[in-house]
Structures are given as structure tokens and as C-alpha cells.
């Protein structure tokens, strides 16, 4: 868990804060999961338990919702998350060559987290900035017009 983002708060405390913010409304389940995911980086098992008790929805149902959406993770992620756009406009603009370079540089497969806990590599659906493809997103930064030789320099900027 990323201690900095959570300010040292425990999972239960974080879930409670989020549930209160959304007034424990069942129909706000997805925004709640997104918020917990943003804070902790993923949804740990104990968060499912707490959420289930608080909003009175079976854990199985919450789990089925969480695993349905790409942006909600049930596995811990690294300090930096790379989302590489795998959409057609980026592909046509030379995305595959860039993608290969990213795979080579990181030495991990999509969906995996590097052993040192620094990187998680994911593919993403279209980010909607197709005019500057190929595109990847690292944390909240978008990089466009990528070429394979830019990749090491960009990755090197992250600690």
C-alpha cells in the first residue's frame, strides 16, 4: 500500500470516509470503488468486507462489479502505473514499436508489477488524444507523439 497517499490511515478508516462521502448509497458503488482504488491503489480484501457491511450489499456482488471494470484493481499496483493506449489510431501511428520498447525496458508483461514495486504496466482503451498518437499515460501524465527512442528518457524521469 502506498503510505504517502493514505496518510498512514488504515483500510477500514479509508473505506468509512468514502462511504460517508457518498452517503452509503448503493447506486454510488462504482464511484466509491473508484475512490478507494485511487487512494489505496487497489481494493484489498478487507475493503470488500467493510464496504459490504456498510452499504449492505453482498461481498460477492461488490467483487463482481469491481472485477468488471478495467480501472478498478483487485491486485496491488506499483508506485507508478503505465497505461499504454492499444487503440487503432495509436497502432496505425507506430504504437507497436513503442510498445515493444516499453516491454523491453521494463522487462514485465502487461498486467504485471515489477519486482521492485516501481512499475505496473497496463494497456488502456482509447484515451481520446488520438491526434498525438502513439500515447501512453504514466500516473496522471500523458505522453504523446511517442517514438521508441524517447521511451528510456521518459521512464528515467520517474523515481
Amino acid at each position: 500500500m502506498n503510505i504517502q497517499k493514505t496518510n498512514g490511515r488504515g483500510v477500514i478508516e479509508i473505506v468509512d470516509l468514502v462511504v460517508d462521502e457518498f452517503h452509503a448509497k448503493k447506486e454510488e458503488l462504482i464511484p466509491m470503488l473508484m475512490k478507494i482504488n485511487q487512494t489505496i491503489g487497489y481494493i484489498p480484501n478487507e475493503a470488500f468486507d467493510r464496504l459490504s457491511t456498510r452499504i449492505r450489499v453482498p461481498k460477492s456482488q461488490i467483487y463482481s462489479v469491481a472485477t468488471f471494470y478495467h480501472m478498478i484493481s483487485t491486485k496491488p499496483v506499483g508506485r507508478h502505473v503505465i497505461k499504454f493506449c492499444e487503440s487503432a489510431p495509436c497502432h496505425v501511428a507506430g504504437g507497436y514499436e513503442v510498445w515493444k520498447t516499453v516491454l523491453k525496458e521494463l522487462g514485465i508483461q502487461p498486467g504485471d508489477t515489477s519486482e521492485d514495486g516501481k512499475w505496473t504496466l497496463m494497456t488502456t482503451s482509447c484515451l481520446g488524444v488520438c491526434a498525438v498518437g502513439p500515447v501512453m499515460m504514466i500516473d496522471d501524465d500523458i505522453y504523446g507523439n511517442l517514438t521508441p527512442d524517447q521511451v528510456p528518457g521518459i521512464l528515467g524521469k520517474y523515481e
Binding site: P31, L33, Y69, H70, V92, S125, C126, G128, Y143
Partner: protein
């Protein structure tokens, strides 16, 4: 922020505060090259600015009118301009204010006659009259299916229910489509105004904008816009002092393409898995929380205020017999001017790609254009003179879709493209119904083996049979449209499939298993550059003598071809 302050101070010092209007734009497009400033009307784009640069910038650019070349974004960065000055063939209705007004300031929108249409509707027209105006305009759903907007509103209005909802579908998931994002980030109030008018027409009290989470800036801009509209009494209780009350909320997605399908979208707003359900009942009758719900696309709503203000006749004058008005498209791929365009219906694909889009990059030949997103189709050069409207595109084997347009040049392999789209659809299939879940997987397997050089006799026929069944038996639009990329490429580029399967050749020289690299002994000068760069050391030869590639070791990475200065490396 310091730069903004400094810029203001310097302008004032030079007595230019009246001449230069500063707009605090949320994002110009090249966040990695910030801080940046765009100067209009010149359209100059300064990047990497620092505080110390500002005095000189003001001196040269604004006082003397001399651009500082070395601080301008490089020519390559020119391409990032999503919205250019319109070409003569373009007509801006939905995008008329994008990039020109400050989206975070409601006053800017009001200055452009914003919310005037709403005032007119609430004080002068009955709900039925509003629906009649929309009907006379001929407006059809911009989300892709092209259903009559007036009819949808009328059905929702006539459905029995104490509570009704209006929903805006801002889950623009088609790869290569970013028209809605641009409207939401550029002129969010137009969408809000359209939704409020729709709510009045159908009798709704509550609305939702379902926006995909991949668009954080759009979500932020929308929330700002909603708060501003609320504070001016344009949302909430008794709007404009009438008895009409309506409020809006933004709901964000969490990354699921299928949520763009209306019944899946409803499930997602309700906090459930975004899985579609069979229709009927249509959402107009039984939608969100079981109540009658009107769902339209961002662009549909954004058209509404203009139709009210300028009259349905003005709108109906543009376009073809059955498709009225304008349509935004996102041009992407191998076209020179990528970005957003807005054109009247009836324009030909040739005009879009060559006049508006500037033609094909690197002076290569045009091969195909993919319209309508992943469930759309690829159209060949013979379709270039097709007038673009809902019916014509469907007849040609593609669809209008939401407006993504991916242009492909002669170096694109159509089987590879079909495989690529199938991979996307297979991945995004929600898994609820078997034809889509299993069928797309099987189709992807067949396409992959064809690209890998293992295509078998009968594969084409198998693809055709699967396409037919998936199309007929799937639950929602995603499944029904899933075979489209394959069906359309088979229709127009069947010979490429046949070349892959029977001749074991990739005519576009893309599929690695089907190509080999060779060195032309006539052209090779023996410079050894290729051999030194080969990652698997499969090139042999002495200095100043012809080199040879060992095809058994070669991994077909193409580096030798890239580095050769004599064009001696051939792809066969």
C-alpha cells in the same frame, strides 16, 4: 500561475492590457511541454516557457508583433492542434465555440447567446411544441444509430411514470473518437442547455451525464459548469421563475467499453456491472431505476440550443434528404491533418480525407478508411465518392457510428487491421451472451493464425459463417456489430485474405511470419551498417562486399532496412 501574473503585469507595463485578452485555458494539449501559451489570431504556440521569458515575449510578440521562433513549438508539435481553423468545406455548429470561449466561465457562454434558447423554450413553447421543432429539424441521434431525436423524446414524454430521467451518454469509448470530449471540454454549457431543454420537453426532474473516467478534464469541466449553472438558477428549483425544476449530476464510468450501450450504461449508473439487457422495453419506456429515460449522445444535446435559436429550417437545410445538419468526426491514422472536423452530411469521404484532411501522409496511396469505431467497417478507394450519411454508409457495409475515422495508407494490411479490431472487441465483450463471448474469441483465433501464416483452407468461409451467427444472435449492439470489421474487409479486400492463406504472402508486407528480408546485391556497397545493427547477428559479409541475411535466424525486426542508406534491403 506565476507566469500568468507576470504576463499580466508585463502587458500592463507596456500599455497592452486592453489589446491582449488573456484566457486561462485548462489544457492546450502538450502537457509535457508546459507551461505553454497560445497566441491568437496568429495561432502561435509557445512552449517550455519560464518566468524570465515573459518580459521579452511581451516585448517582441505583443508590442512589436515579431514571433520568437526559437520558443515556438516545433513543427512536429503543430500536429497536436486538435481543432484547426475550419477549411472551406467545414461548417461549425457543435464546435462553433470550442477553443474560443473559456469553458470554465459561464459568462463566456452567455455572451455567445448561451441559455437564450432555454429561456425561449421555457417562456414561449409548450413541451409538445419543443418536440415539434426538433422533429422539423430532422435531428437524429449522433451516438451512431441515427434514431430520430424527436421520436425518442415523444415516446419518453408519452410513457407513463411520475418520475422521468434524461441521461447524456458521454461514454465515448470508440478508439479514435474524441469529438465528445472536445465538446465537453470546450463548451460544456451547450450540452447542459440541450439536456435542460430535453428535460422540459419530456417532463424530467433529474438528469445524469455518464462520462467515461478516461476523461478526467471533461468531468472536471462539467462539474464546474453544473455548479455555475446552479448558482445562476439555470439548474435547480423553478428555473427562470417558471414551475419547471431540474437538476443534473455527473456519473463517471470505470473503464468498460460496453457501457456506451444504453442499457449497460443504465446498469452502470445504478451501481451494477455494465451488462446490457434485451430490448424492448426500451429505456424510453423503462430505463434508469425502472423509470422512463431519455438517453442521447453529447453531440445530439449540443445541437439542440442552436436548433431552437436559429430555427429548425436552418438546420434542415444542411445535409441530405434523411440526414440533416452537421456531424463531427475525429480524423486519425495516416492522414496529414489529424484532429477534429465538423462537416455537413452529404460531403463525400474524398472531400473529408483529401480536402479537409489534406490527403495521405508521406505521399503514400490511400487504401481504406475505417468509420464507425470498432464495430464499423473499412471502406476502400471505390467508396471515396460516397456522400456521408447514415443510410449510405450502412449500404456500403460500414456505419456512421459516433464519428471516429481512421485513415489507412497502402502500407496497412487489412487482415492485420481486422485482427486488431477483433482483439479489441473480444477484450471488451462483457461476457453475458454466448455468441459474442465465444464467437469473437473464435474469430480472433482464426484471424491470428491467418496473420501468423497458418491460415487454412476454409478459414474464410468459417469467418463468414461465424459473422452471420454472431450478428444474428447477440444481445446488444456491441455483439451485433462485432463481425463488421471482418465482414467489411472480406467484402472489399478478400484478395488479401486469400494471399495470406493460399499464397502465404502478406501483400502489404506487414505480417511478419509472411515476409522475409533480403539484400539487393546491386545496391549493397558493403558498408556493414546493417550487420552492426542487427540484434540477432544474422547478417554476414565483409567490408565493401555484398552482405547476406540468414532467413532462418532473422526475426524480421526491420532494423536493417531502417538503417541502410542505400535502400539495399528489400522486403519480400
Amino acid at each position: 500561475m506565476q507566469i500568468l501574473e507576470s504576463l499580466k503585469a508585463e502587458l500592463k507595463k507596456n500599455g497592452l492590457e486592453e489589446e491582449v485578452n488573456i484566457l486561462d485555458s485548462p489544457r492546450i494539449g502538450m502537457c509535457e511541454k508546459g507551461p505553454e501559451i497560445l497566441v491568437y489570431p496568429e495561432g502561435l504556440h509557445y512552449i517550455n516557457l519560464s518566468l524570465e521569458d515573459i518580459p521579452l515575449l511581451v516585448q517582441e510578440q505583443f508590442l512589436k508583433g515579431r514571433p520568437i521562433e526559437k520558443w515556438l513549438a516545433p513543427a512536429k508539435a503543430e500536429k497536436v492542434t486538435e481543432l484547426r481553423e475550419p477549411t472551406p468545406r467545414e461548417v461549425r455548429v457543435v464546435l462553433r465555440n470550442s477553443g474560443k470561449i473559456d469553458p470554465e466561465n459561464i459568462e463566456d457562454y452567455i455572451a455567445e447567446n448561451g441559455y437564450e434558447a432555454l429561456a425561449k423554450v421555457l417562456t414561449e413553447y409548450t413541451p409538445d411544441e419543443v418536440i415539434d421543432i426538433i422533429k422539423r429539424s430532422g435531428l437524429r441521434g449522433r451516438g451512431g444509430a441515427g434514431f430520430s431525436t424527436a421520436l425518442k423524446w415523444a415516446i419518453t414524454r408519452d410513457s407513463v411514470g411520475d418520475i422521468k430521467y434524461v441521461v447524456c451518454n458521454a461514454d465515448e469509448g470508440d478508439p479514435g473518437a474524441f469529438m465528445n470530449r472536445s465538446v465537453l471540454e470546450g463548451e460544456p454549457h451547450a450540452v447542459l442547455e440541450g439536456m435542460i431543454i430535453a428535460a422540459y420537453a419530456i417532463g424530467a426532474q433529474q438528469g445524469y451525464i455518464y462520462c467515461r473516467a478516461e476523461y478526467p478534464i471533461a468531468i472536471r469541466t462539467l462539474n464546474i459548469a453544473i455548479n455555475q449553472a446552479r448558482s445562476l438558477g439555470l439548474l435547480g428549483e423553478k428555473i427562470f421563475g417558471t414551475d419547471f425544476s431540474f437538476d443534473l449530476e455527473v456519473r463517471q464510468g470505470a473503464g468498460a467499453f460496453v457501457c456506451g450501450e444504453e442499457t449497460a450504461l443504465i446498469a452502470s449508473i445504478e451501481g451494477r456491472r455494465g451488462e446490457p439487457r434485451p430490448r424492448p422495453p426500451f429505456p424510453s419506456v423503462k430505463g434508469l431505476f425502472g423509470k422512463p429515460t431519455n438517453i442521447n449522445n453529447v453531440e445530439t444535446y449540443a445541437n439542440v440550443p442552436q436548433i431552437i435559436l436559429r430555427g429548425p429550417e436552418w438546420f434542415a437545410e444542411m445535409g441530405t434528404e434523411k440526414s440533416k445538419g452537421t456531424k463531427t468526426f475525429a480524423l486519425a491514422g495516416d492522414v496529414k491533418n489529424t484532429g477534429l472536423i465538423e462537416v455537413p452530411f452529404g460531403i463525400t469521404l474524398r472531400e473529408i480525407i483529401f480536402d479537409v484532411g489534406g490527403g495521405i501522409k508521406n505521399d503514400l496511396a490511400f487504401k481504406a478508411v475505417q468509420t464507425g469505431g470498432p464495430m464499423g467497417g473499412c471502406l476502400p478507394a471505390s467508396a471515396l465518392d460516397l456522400p456521408v450519411d447514415y443510410e449510405k454508409l450502412t449500404e456500403a457495409g460500414s456505419i456512421m457510428g459516433s464519428g471516429g475515422m481512421v485513415v489507412m495508407d497502402e502500407e496497412t494490411c487489412m487482415v492485420d487491421i481486422a485482427r486488431f479490431f477483433m482483439e479489441f472487441i473480444q477484450d471488451e465483450s462483457c461476457g453475458k451472451c454466448v455468441p459474442c463471448r465465444v464467437g469473437t474469441k473464435r474469430m480472433l483465433e482464426i484471424l491470428t493464425r491467418i496473420c501468423d501464416g497458418n491460415g487454412r483452407e476454409g478459414d474464410i468461409e468459417l469467418l463468414e459463417a461465424l459473422s452471420k451467427e454472431i450478428r444474428q444472435d447477440s444481445l446488444c449492439g456491441l455483439g451485433q456489430g462485432a463481425p463488421n470489421p471482418v465482414v467489411s474487409t472480406l467484402k472489399h479486400f478478400r484478395h488479401e485474405y486469400e494471399a495470406h492463406i493460399y499464397d502465404k504472402q502478406c501483400p502489404a508486407k506487414v505480417c511478419r511470419a509472411l515476409i522475409r528480408y533480403e539484400i539487393d546485391p546491386e545496391k549493397c556497397v558493403g558498408c556493414t551498417l546493417c550487420a552492426r545493427n542487427c540484434p540477432v547477428n544474422c547478417i554476414s559479409g565483409e567490408v565493401k562486399k555484398t552482405h547476406v541475411i540468414d532467413p532462418d535466424i532473422c526475426i524480421r525486426c526491420g532494423i536493417c532496412k531502417q538503417v541502410c542508406n542505400y535502400e539495399a534491403v528489400l522486403v519480400l
